[in-house]
């Protein structure tokens, strides 16, 4: 590090330039990563926040909740394996609502759940609803931005039914739409209302069964039931319409940024290294070990990439505070650590070309040469 630090001290402008470029790239990496995570969360937070870790879906439903249809027979079988508490039905329905007292139309997703089960919404404002109540719903707080408050009456366009908003929940989105929680009683009424009449009176089917189970129990359920599939929460999330496409394009941007970071650094350092070929020859002739020189090059890259990373972390946190609420942004500690490590690793990868170049310099270059 003796040489590395003194060289930076001597050529401040040159290394500052590299630092700034690395800073911009690492900031962009962190920022896009945060945005990707934020968008993901804004998209599927309702599923992500569910305590269940597995979902039973119909075998030919392509993992997609809305395409799946299950009934009581499957629920009974699942409950027999994992216990009553650890399996609960979930029905999903996308729709559009209007509010009586506000001039709004909003796309929402109905979640019909057992209000005593594990999927019951955690109300943060207002009151919860029971399985017996009628005409009340719990909605995602994001609807507040559309002018809906507790006590508002919302009306489903498709069925024409109306409910009163009893309470708000937080962070409940499905496919970028706010979730409206209703109990099974209202769900039955809504389905039968638009259905063909009272013929199929006892119970309307639901879409999936949420499970809290271990792998053994999952195997047992798939063994017992034909034509169903048990998928993990991760699989469920990536099958939510739009989720994968959105995340993949953001992921591609992030990957490109990493590659760019490695390339920019590699090229900069390579050019600098080529300029210093004769210096490396002298250093070797004087008895500097190759390992010392390699560490010197790698050390410089380490200093620059870690320094730029620290500054860009500060910038990212600052940016996060300045961002408006409506712009989803989320960076948790594990993502930051992973991203930071990857960034430094890519920088070091870029430095390796320079190390290889230095290794090739012959100490003989020092003798019989005129130069600086």
């Amino acid at each position: 590090m003796f040489l590395a630090l003194r060289e930076i001290r001597h050529s401040k402008a040159r290394y500052m330039l590299i630092l700034v470029i690395l800073l911009l790239v690492s900031f962009l990496v962190l920022f896009v990563t945060g945005l990707a995570r934020g968008l993901a969360y804004a998209n599927i937070s309702a599923i992500e926040n569910m305590p269940s870790n597995y979902y039973v879906v119909q075998g030919d439903a392509d993992h997609t909740f809305r395409r799946s249809q299950l009934n009581d027979a499957e629920l009974k079988a699942a409950r027999a394996v994992v216990g009553d508490k650890n399996a609960t039905p979930l029905a999903v329905q996308m729709s559009t609502i209007t509010a009586a007292d506000a001039d709004v139309k909003a796309d929402i997703t109905f979640f019909a759940v057992d209000m005593d089960g594990m999927l019951a919404p955690k109300v943060i404002q207002g009151e919860g609803i029971s399985n017996e109540s009628q005409g009340s719903v719990i909605v995602d707080q994001k609807l507040e931005q559309s002018g809906i408050t507790i006590g508002s009456t919302i009306r489903d366009q498709a069925s024409g039914m109306s409910w009163k908003v009893a309470g708000f929940v937080q962070d409940s989105s499905y496919s970028h739409t706010p979730v409206v929680f209703i109990n099974n009683r209202d769900w039955q009424e809504m389905k039968q209302g638009v259905g063909q009449g009272a013929a199929e009176a006892q119970s309307v089917p639901y879409n999936v069964i949420a499970l809290h189970a271990d792998t053994g129990q999952v195997k047992e359920i798939t063994g017992q039931l034909d034509n169903v599939e048990v998928i993990t929460q991760k699989q469920a999330i990536s099958s939510i319409p739009g989720y994968s496409a959105e995340q993949n394009s953001l992921l591609m941007m992030i990957v490109f940024l990493f590659v760019i970071a490695a390339f920019v650094l590699a090229v900069f350092f390579y050019v600098i290294t080529i300029q210093k070929t004769s210096q490396f020859g002298i250093l070797k002739a004087m008895g500097t070990k190759m390992s010392y020189l390699a560490w010197s090059v790698v050390g410089q890259v380490m200093i620059l990439s870690v320094a730029s990373l620290c500054i860009s972390l500060l910038l990212t946190f600052g940016m996060n505070r300045a961002l408006p609420e409506s712009m989803p942004f989320q960076l948790d500690a594990s993502t930051i650590i992973l991203t930071s490590c990857l960034f430094v690793a890519m920088s070091l990868l870029g430095a390796l070309i320079s190390v290889a170049k230095v290794a090739k310099v012959d100490a003989l270059e020092a003798i019989g040469r005129t130069g600086a």
Partner: protein
């Protein structure tokens, strides 16, 4: 008297197949403690090749070389690097200082490589820089020094790790006559006061005043011609 440098039947041949060029052929040389030897020869006569071989930078095609009694034959790259660090001081054409190290740091760097104690290194650097009269310039970068000053730093750096022998490759090439002579005198002074040895390669016959022996590199051999030394 112990031999600081001993070269026995050293041959260096460049190229292969039908177009070979023997730059050194069966060259013999012994340089003893306290001796300052000059090697002269026109451009292309093989001076740099000779110095590279003696300085453990180039492996000769055949023959044996001993530095301070240690044979260079059968040493690997790492061992040769270590030997250069501990036993050999180099001076190159046009100083070749590291542009980003201040004068004093140029000396401290080689001391660090040799794992010298920091305090000891500082003392030795101060001693050398004072002797060579560039102590006041110790906080300057090479770009702020004149050519003569740079070569004086290079001398100090070469002597820093108390090498057994110093090899200088045309150390006066980038200096005017007076400054060049001054630099050669300083090398000679250090050889005498430290009880070491030095070999200087040059094509300038006017720089020989302070040398104990003058050798000519002709057709791959070193030939002694005492009578030619001119006195200024």
């Amino acid at each position: 008297m112990s031999a600081k440098l001993l070269m026995k039947q050293v041959t260096k041949t460049y190229g292969d197949g039908d177009s070979t060029l023997s730059v050194l052929s069966n060259l013999n040389l012994q340089v003893n403690e306290g001796e300052f030897v000059a090697v002269l020869g026109p451009s292309g006569s093989g001076k740099s090749t000779f110095l590279s071989a003696a300085g453990a930078l180039l492996t000769p095609t055949s023959g044996e070389i001993f530095i301070d009694g240690e044979s260079l034959t059968n040493k690997d790259k790492g061992e040769l690097t270590k030997l250069r660090l501990e036993k050999i001081g180099f001076m190159f054409q046009s100083a070749q200082l590291l542009p980003y190290l201040k004068v004093e740091e140029q000396l401290l760097y080689v001391a660090r490589l040799a794992k010298l104690d920091t305090r000891e290194a500082k003392q030795r650097a101060a001693y050398l820089l004072k002797r060579l009269e560039i102590w006041e310039r110790r906080d300057r970068y090479p770009e702020q020094l004149s050519g003569g000053e740079k070569q004086r730093v290079a001398i100090a750096r070469a002597w820093m790790n108390k090498p057994a022998i110093l090899f200088a490759d045309e150390p006066t090439a980038s200096l005017d006559f007076n400054r060049g002579r001054e630099v050669v005198r300083m090398i000679a002074d250090e050889v005498k006061s430290e009880g070491k040895a030095a070999v200087m390669v040059t094509h300038d016959e006017r720089m020989l005043e302070w040398c104990d022996r003058v050798l000519y590199l002709e057709e791959g051999h070193l030939i002694e011609k005492k009578s030619l030394v001119t006195v200024h």
